[in-house]
């Protein structure tokens, strides 16, 4: 019970901590919603060829974009800062279980993901371009929120190798090109063939394909390759993060 309480309290304050930082909330939470207003609300009444309305399609892709942002920034930037500027060390002198530190950040990322997705649902419904039935909405959340795990792992890997001042820049260098190349801003089928090939190697693309699939906007075909890709990518990111963690511990205990 005590352990559970520590994990939940850590998550609560992690959420408060980042919620009060405009530099975190504006790019990660507001940008997906603003982009949706530009493209989903303004242009979303068009129909994706042979599929759903663009406004509905973009809820899945901007939802993916939002999940990636909060996860990458929440882990990449904050782990790099707290590790590099001594705060993590202060926490390590307390009986705090190290799992609480990571689990709290993951719960925080998932809470922000939920906020972004619900925001997109509201914009879609209000504009009439992205009305999603409740069952599909639940499925979409059930895909995107656990989907955060892959990008939390990626952020953790960045956080363990980037310096406190460079982390934010590095995360942006990953976040923005990957989002574009994965077809999260502009639908993948509009992009040149070369980019469509690159997308096959990006986790953002694979998560968005699963998300599109559960709201009836997928290309058909099995979800399994996408799921396997995400699991393998997560394992690789965690392995990199673990190497960084071991390196840090080595500095401490070596």
């Amino acid at each position: 019970m005590k352990m559970l309480k520590i994990h939940l309290l850590e998550a609560k304050y992690e959420f408060f901590k980042v919620m009060r930082v405009p530099g975190f909330v504006v790019p990660t939470v507001l940008f997906p919603l603003i982009f949706y207003v530009f493209f989903g609300v303004a242009l979303g009444h068009q129909r994706v060829p042979g599929s759903v309305m663009l406004g509905k399609y973009l809820i899945a892709t901007y939802g993916t974009f939002g999940v990636i942002g909060v996860s990458l920034f929440g882990f990449g930037v904050y782990v790099a800062i707290e590790r590099g500027q001594g705060w993590l060390q202060v926490k390590r002198t307390t009986p705090m279980p190290i799992s609480a530190y990571f689990v709290a950040k993951m719960i925080m990322a998932m809470l922000f993901s939920t906020i972004i997705i619900i925001g997109l649902f509201i914009l879609g419904a209000v504009s009439g371009n992205g009305v999603i039935p409740i069952v599909e909405a639940m499925k979409l959340m059930a895909v995107l929120i656990p989907g955060a795990i892959t990008f939390c792992a990626a952020g953790l890997a960045v956080g363990y190798f980037a310096g406190p001042n460079s982390a934010s820049g590095i995360v942006n260098l990953i976040y923005i090109p990957m989002s574009f190349l994965s077809g999260l801003w502009i639908p993948i089928w509009v992009l040149p063939k070369a980019i469509q090939k690159i997308a096959l190697f990006l986790p953002g693309f694979h998560l968005s394909q699963i998300a599109l699939g559960v709201i009836g906007a997928g290309r058909g075909g099995s979800m399994l390759p996408h799921v396997i890709f995400l699991i393998v990518a997560t394992a690789i990111f965690l392995a990199i993060a673990y190497a960084g963690y071991r390196r840090d511990e080595g500095k401490m205990y070596g």
């Binding site: 408060f16 919620m19 500027q85 060390q89 202060v90 002198t93 009986p95």
Partner: protein
Amino acid sequence: MRNIHSVLPACLANVTKTYDEHVVALREISLDIHPGELTALLGPNGAGKTTAVKLLLGLAAPTTGIARVFNADPRDAANRARTGAMLQVARVPETLRVREHIALFSAYYPDPMPFAQVVAAAGLGGIESKKFGELSGGQKQRVLFALAICGNPDLLILDEPTVGLDVEARRGLWTQIRAFVEHGKSVLLTTHYLEEADALADRVVVIARGRIIAQGSPAEIKSHASGKRIRVRTRLALDEIRALPFVTSATNGGGTIEITTASSDEVLRTLLARDASLADIEITSAGLEEAFLAMTSGAQAPAPVRTGDAPVVHQK
């Protein structure tokens, strides 16, 4: 049944710590923190104070030698619960409020202090709802102090708690630290201010370049550090000089005798009376800090002074 009172809260035994295989931070250090005492580890920047703190907090392991806290590995979960620490930290989450920081840290510990008691003990009344980033330097240090004591620790480790603070803020924190010690807790405090060690400590350990160069009561260390240094060529025997009034210590330094004293006038008068051939008189006059710096700056350092069990320092 072991007697809990006989267990040293913390000790380093013959500890050497090297970083990256050639930077030696500590050389053969042995340091005991006694129960119910405030021990000050005094030394200039780069002396190895923070390294000693990290070893005792289990944030680093000795290269050779042993670090123990309550007779166990400093990293033991039980030790983490019994130890509070205030480290030098470049950045603390600035958007959390004081009360939130304290609530979170208190939750880590099995038997935390009540919130109101933490606020009172750290002097945080009236600023509980401020965000950390809105606080002054002194207030920030008091919050870090609150986080160190909120778990009601038996051992408190403070790494340069007042560095960078103005005089008023420094004295404010001293009051909080003193109040904590009065509850019979054991404290290790590192500082490079002799005044701070003097104001707070029961025992002072002076460290320079990774070695312990002196230890004793604050009065002993102060008298040693505050004394003037006389260098003379004399035919008087070393033992005779040591026995003179006001002489703190005397060492033979290649033809000349080096005398540390609380009163250079008195000692010189006596020396001249006894040895008409006294020559090459050189008196180094130093204030507290200067004398301390002279004592801790490498090559010119006098032989280690030990007090207590081996009374080499002659108190006058």
